[in-house]
Symmetry: C2
Subunit: 96 residues, 2 copies
Amino acid sequence: MFKDLDPILHSQLRLALVSILISVKEAEFTYLREKTSATAGNLSVQINKLKEAGYIDVAKQFKDNYPQTICKITPQGVLAFEQYVKDLQTYLDIKK
Amino acid sequence: MFKDLDPILHSQLRLALVSILISVKEAEFTYLREKTSATAGNLSVQINKLKEAGYIDVAKQFKDNYPQTICKITPQGVLAFEQYVKDLQTYLDIKK
DNA sequence: TAAACTAGTTTATTTTATAAACCAAACTCC
DNA sequence: GGAGTTTGGTTTATAAAATAAACTAGTTTA
């Protein structure tokens, strides 16, 4: 009946991040921070979890003398998101 | 952009419970336990949270000598669920 | 009448999410 | 050129949540 929901994605902030990254393909830390209104600390932690899950790739570099963190969704991340949406349907489609 | 998700409903088990209760209008503890495969302890806790949030009504009685707990969704619970689904769309509809 | 089962609740443990504090380097501007 | 501020984060601490384990109270069965 109900499918188990991927706990990595069943988190408001991480879901938002993956949602953004699927639509833009690549985004920097500060952009993600603005779009999600997350605190930097929380964002840092959740980005790491998504990275460890293999759902995003994270590249650190310097831009205009400042550190810059760039995130990109992986094929695995796309699949996980699609599966999550499918699984979620089992909770939302209410058959009368 | 992203709407905050009702934390009461953004939980796999509680979402499943509300989902069931919207479709059946009334269900007993043991039925909910079977449908969700939850442990009794977890179910007990989550039912109480939904009750405290005003999303369900809980009635305790005896049936065939055994205690029986019956849960029913409230109008507020229906509204909260509908809002949750709407808010969730902001995470799932990806505009390319 | 002892063992096992029903239908839960309560308490404890683990896991998560979040916030607060911190860090290093770069700018600002007097 | 040094104090204070800002950028772009990370790490650590705290709060909240989910879950599991242990317990209660009573019932049925052998």
